[in-house]
């Protein structure tokens, strides 16, 4: 599957604008078919979402993200990996904090 071309299209202004309008109104059609997406359409939709998120991050001036990064697939993947690792760490930390601050008494299993 030619992901390079797929990603180029997904990050293009044309498809990003279409995707934003589709998200806002729920009526703009990106594909001829409304359902039963093909594998390549699934992938395309995934990348539309990814680049939409990246452009939002760019607008929010997230650290390490620039236009140059978005243009380069490998640097983009690097940013996405870092973002998901940071998110996982935060979630894990929140989980631990929620457990320690919980009022539910912990269960102690004793050997008979």
């Amino acid at each position: 599957m030619n992901l390079k071309i797929l990603r180029t299209l997904a990050k293009s202004e044309k498809f990003q604008a279409l995707y934003r309008r589709a998200k806002d109104t729920g009526v703009i059609k990106i594909f001829k078919n409304d359902y039963n997406l093909s594998k390549i359409q699934d992938w395309f939709f995934y990348y539309l979402e990814v680049y939409n998120m990246l452009y939002q991050d760019l607008a929010n001036k997230e650290p390490y993200l620039t236009e140059e990064v978005i243009k380069n697939d490998l640097r983009c993947d690097a940013y996405l990996l870092m973002k998901s690792k940071t998110k996982n760490k935060k979630e894990e930390k929140n989980k631990k904090e929620a457990i320690t601050s919980s009022n539910i008494p912990s269960i102690i299993f004793k050997k008979k």
């Binding site: 390549i40 395309f44 390490y64 870092m82």
Partner: protein, 216 residues
Amino acid sequence: MEEKKITREELAKEGLEAIRKIEQENQFENIIKDNKIEFQIDDKVYRVRKLTSLEEQELEKQRRIKYTALVLDNSYLFKKEWVAKYLEKGIDLDKKEKKIRANQYEIETLLLKLAKTSDPKNIDVLTESINKLKDEQFEISIEVTNLLQYCVESQLSNFVISYTTYVVLEVKDNENWNKVFKSYEEFDKSENNLLIGKALYFVNYLIYGENYSEKK
């Protein structure tokens, strides 16, 4: 029979090269606009589409029949058995797969460094190292795939892609779409390599989404 299947795989790869040109001319948009892909060879218009639920049921039945035939045929071995046979001959496939995973770990470590740098020199060095690891990963992966091409699992997977292609390949006749081949046997014996190569390639886009055409 199996030799022909391998040839088909090779044909699909040859088809890739021809179609790569079309993609580079920005016609990729046509591929994603619908869940059917039309293409032309000479003066005929063909298409591949997704399977209907009835066809999926039929495919499942054919898969079962093929699987039973492969299992009952003693000349076919499962992947695990091939791995053991190769190990006896000094080829350690588990080690190769471990190497692929190790490379992946290394790639991710370098990607995390790449994410945090904006120094052009550093970006070039990291990009080169990552691409080198990816190339190595790809080569090992191709080697493993080739070594296991005769195992039951690979044979079954090739059959499923081939059978799907036979079912969903249609030719335009005025406003109607008709099946190109009347039976799977006819499809299997066909020497229209260009048509079958392209159809296999597009079916991959529509249904399976395997990434065998791309290194990175």
